[in-house]
Subunit: 281 residues, 3 copies
């Protein structure tokens, strides 16, 4: 029954925003005004607006780190959109009980299960490809014609925010546009094997503390406990407090981070997103 | 009837905040505490707190770009206030169904119609002048005596936030202070003619992406399609994606912006607010 | 009666957040998701997330400047926590009708009365010590076992946010863990006497405007009106507007600030937190 897929309209309905708009302009404020004009009782939560400008891959990563902390029915609007106003599709998709809205450039991959995204091979970098969606993930392209004269430069305000508001007012996802069964996605964030006993990781993100977050996962460290970054072998620790000097630690999203207690690993090493890390047996 | 002018007290009442307070201190948080203490059900939305320190003109511009995205009855508190604690007046004004609160130094001009603000002449810069208000715009000076012992350095917390809260609790605007019929305003953001077929624009704002937003309007480009900035002629594009190299584009607020796709026009040109731009036939 | 100490569960319940997490990651967003998952009607207010990384003392100062602007029953979650995942205790305390949650490293001292914190002596810097709590302040250590498998690196999301949510759902503070009667605290922010007619102040914080906020209090200036910073005597003013050049002024939290109108005192003097200031008779 279609009704069962509606998101309930109530005061605890949440819309989150993740963008590269920054906070020094009123872009984010204007989106919130549009949402609250159409859906006055919605709760709006900022995930972050400091995704590096046009950093689609990092947007996908940051979305992935946060959305599972929200309750079922939350709508996440993720906009890192160098192609705004152009021909790229606009998406809305429902996955594990939450909804994701944004351009079809890979930024929404943070919502997808690993097996849907597929995996990168050693030596490859993260590049979007068409990922076929299973039946459990419902996706549509958003029909911009639903909204009056979107500007060519600010679809966050003119298309994506109103689309989210429509859903909170009870419009079924399927009525936002045309059903599709594949979207652009980055491979799963997971370091591939390099030979028999090494993984070929990359740095996905440098956080506020200068921690370098890699695509190597906690489980990988069990058999491959030697972490090498910038030709340095770094020791493992369980907490930042235990760490002495440059350290590898399993961060809050389950990925291995390179940290420097009371300092910035990013600065000390001169490394950032895209640089490589290796773990060995 | 006076009652009809009251703002309705309900859970979807919105107060927005626009300041130059930044987010590294607790100034904004303290204002929110004061508002929620007096008006627990109000929704508070940040427009931006990163107006350049004491950038009254940019505050007015940023206010202008955002307030129309909000529903009728919204109260906008705009504080960029180098004269805090001094003799300048404090204003509350109702304009097109929304309310604006802030110091009388021009920051609220972003709320006023162009014809009320008047226009700058070619070669002049943006300087405040007394703008006479039409009957359709109701304005009062806020009587600081309504509030207990305001500090001399933080009227945002001690006067402006409580004034906004009073309105949401049903106090009529007229009872905040004394009715006035003129306020300080910057001229309308509109490039004046320089000779017969050129406009004399200025850069109002540099956004997070390094886009230089000018006071030249979309309509001006129809007859005067040649955009010259830093002695360079820049091509026109409809979207950022179409752009190749330095480009003029109509931004989301209807003003012409100078953009550099995958880069910062502000950095590439070394230009910012106050610098000039010209369009010609 | 224990019931009387419960925080009322209602839609105007407020949780504030003060952290050093910054806004470029999703750490803050994830905390909000956790809170809203458990307590959908809570209002969440950011005090600031730009406490300098691991700046526990500045976190305590910033907390102190803001919490009294909030209504009774507010819960403040303050997390600046270099020892996350380690052996330091986690605290919840009720003080003057509000609740404070965070690590036991001094960051919560901003909530305590001066006499509980004690005072530093001339020449000493701010270092935490065990402060005995009076009966009027109820404190417990939070039992992390209440929550499922906290990560070793993000207790903000996994322990502190859920603890705050539990309280808003009616759990009594005492049931979060074990009652204690002393916590780590910084001395009260109050410049000590150096000899008979001088005070030995330090800079606690540099705000967005470059104002240097000291631990010298308004009342101290009555008998000791000569303010000396970086070997310069600075004049006093009541408002920023009155000030001409480097000036001492009583800021919005009651502390003396060194300000430079239309400029940054911090930059002009090359000074910041920890540097000294003197007032003399």
């Amino acid at each position: 029954m279609r009704e069962s897929k509606r998101i309930m309209t109530n005061q605890s309905q949440i819309i989150t925003l993740l963008t590269d708009f920054g906070l020094s302009d009123t872009y984010v404020g204007a989106m919130k005004g549009v949402i609250l004009s159409a859906a006055p009782h919605v709760r709006i939560v900022d995930l972050t607006h400091e995704v590096p400008a046009q950093g689609v891959l990092q947007g996908a990563f940051l979305l992935q780190t946060a959305w599972r902390s929200f309750p079922a029915g939350t709508i996440h609007v993720a906009i890192v959109d160098p192609g705004v106003g152009g021909a790229r599709r606009r998406l809305a998709l429902r996955c594990e009980g939450q909804v994701f809205i944004g351009p079809d450039n890979g930024v929404l991959s943070g919502a997808l299960p690993d097996e849907v995204r597929g995996y990168r091979a050693a030596g490859e970098s993260y590049v979007v490809h068409q990922a076929r969606l299973p039946d459990s993930i419902e996706a549509v392209t958003i029909d911009a014609g639903l909204f009056s004269t979107p500007s060519a430069t600010f679809e966050g305000r003119d298309v994506f925010a109103p689309a989210a508001a429509l859903l909170t007012n009870g419009k079924p996802l399927e009525e936002l546009g045309t059903r599709i069964d594949a979207i652009n996605a980055f491979p799963a964030f997971k370091a591939p094997a390099r030979g028999e006993d090494a993984l070929d990781g990359v740095i996905l993100h440098s956080d506020r503390f200068g921690n370098l977050i890699t695509d190597i996962r906690a489980a990988d460290l069990t058999s491959l406990p030697v972490v090498i970054v910038a030709d340095k072998r770094v020791t493992l620790a369980r907490t930042y407090e235990e760490a002495a000097g440059l350290t590898a630690i399993v961060g809050s999203s389950g990925f291995v981070e390179i940290a420097l207690p009371n300092g910035s690993a990013a600065q000390a090493l001169g490394l950032g997103p895209g640089d490589t890390v290796r773990v060995e047996g």
